[in-house]
Symmetry: C2
Subunit: 141 residues, 2 copies
DNA sequence: TGTAGGTTGCAACTCCGTTGCATGGTAATT
DNA sequence: AATTACCATGCAACGGAGTTGCAACCTACA
């Protein structure tokens, strides 16, 4: 199994199990946001119970290994970059969803510009979802 | 029934039915984002079938009367402001979810600052979700 | 007031989120 | 290498939400 996978599990004090290794490896290889259904499909030959995949995702969320990605179609998950740890989860997320190929990716280099909230409001976490055409799909037009 | 309600239905070429009037009126009164479950609860004495409420929301979405609001907990819906019409739906949404009281509101006065996408990317629609404490909940701390 | 066509309620199905519990597996200790 | 405490898994089960088909009903207009 990949070094990133075993290291990640070890660094977050998680037991290395087949399901966790496979889920994490799928995120590593696909490099895009995945839904629970995507994972079930990708690992269907491994015969993991859907509850196990559900609990694996929940555990990874709690540990800060992945984070939620939201769009019109529902909830997906993506790997957190180095900036996220269990103690200080990254409080700013920028995601791009291509309306053509359907892929959703994190734009880690893009930061949310400053904005001013109404009086009395306090921001703790912000996420920006941009929908449009990704570079690959733009070229094909 | 409220004038806003009957006008809105008429302006979008929708027949005025009891369910549509009540759903729209609930949005008008509550002034916050509502889930299908919220609406079922608010209108449970009216005995509308949950499929009817589901279809009402779907119709309102298509007509641009409401729009989806997404956060960790799932999908909610909120009234679109004047800026949205069926032809040109507003392509920028800013929502604030209070982590204390749980309410989600549109921040119509707040615009998403400019940002620059990676080469080749084209934005069509953007939505910013800010989570934190709203003015009411901040005061109570 | 009658009619055409849109709307509703009901049944039914699927998918996802969630929990309890018994079983099985991992990792630390000896 | 064997033991063992505890965590992880699979299975069953439940509720909620999304979705569709269809017959009955109701709105809007002539």
């Amino acid at each position: 199994m990949d070094k990133f996978v075993s290291d990640t599990l070890k660094n977050h004090n998680l037991r290395t199990t087949s399901c966790r290794e496979n889920v994490l490896d799928t995120f590593r290889i696909r490099e895009t946001a995945l839904s629970q259904g995507d994972l079930e499909g990708a690992l269907k030959n491994k015969k993991f119970d859907r509850v196990t995949i559900y609990r694996t995702l929940k555990t990874f969320l709690e540990k800060g290994i992945i984070h939620k990605v939201l769009d019109d179609e529902g909830i997906r998950y993506a790997l957190c970059k180095e900036r996220c740890t269990e103690a200080s989860h990254n409080h700013e997320h920028v995601h791009f969803k291509c309306t053509d190929c359907g892929q959703t990716n994190c734009l880690d280099n893009l930061h949310i510009p400053a904005f001013s909230l109404p009086p009395g409001y306090r921001a703790q976490e912000t996420s920006l979802l941009i929908q449009g055409l990704c570079a690959d799909c733009t070229q094909q037009k």
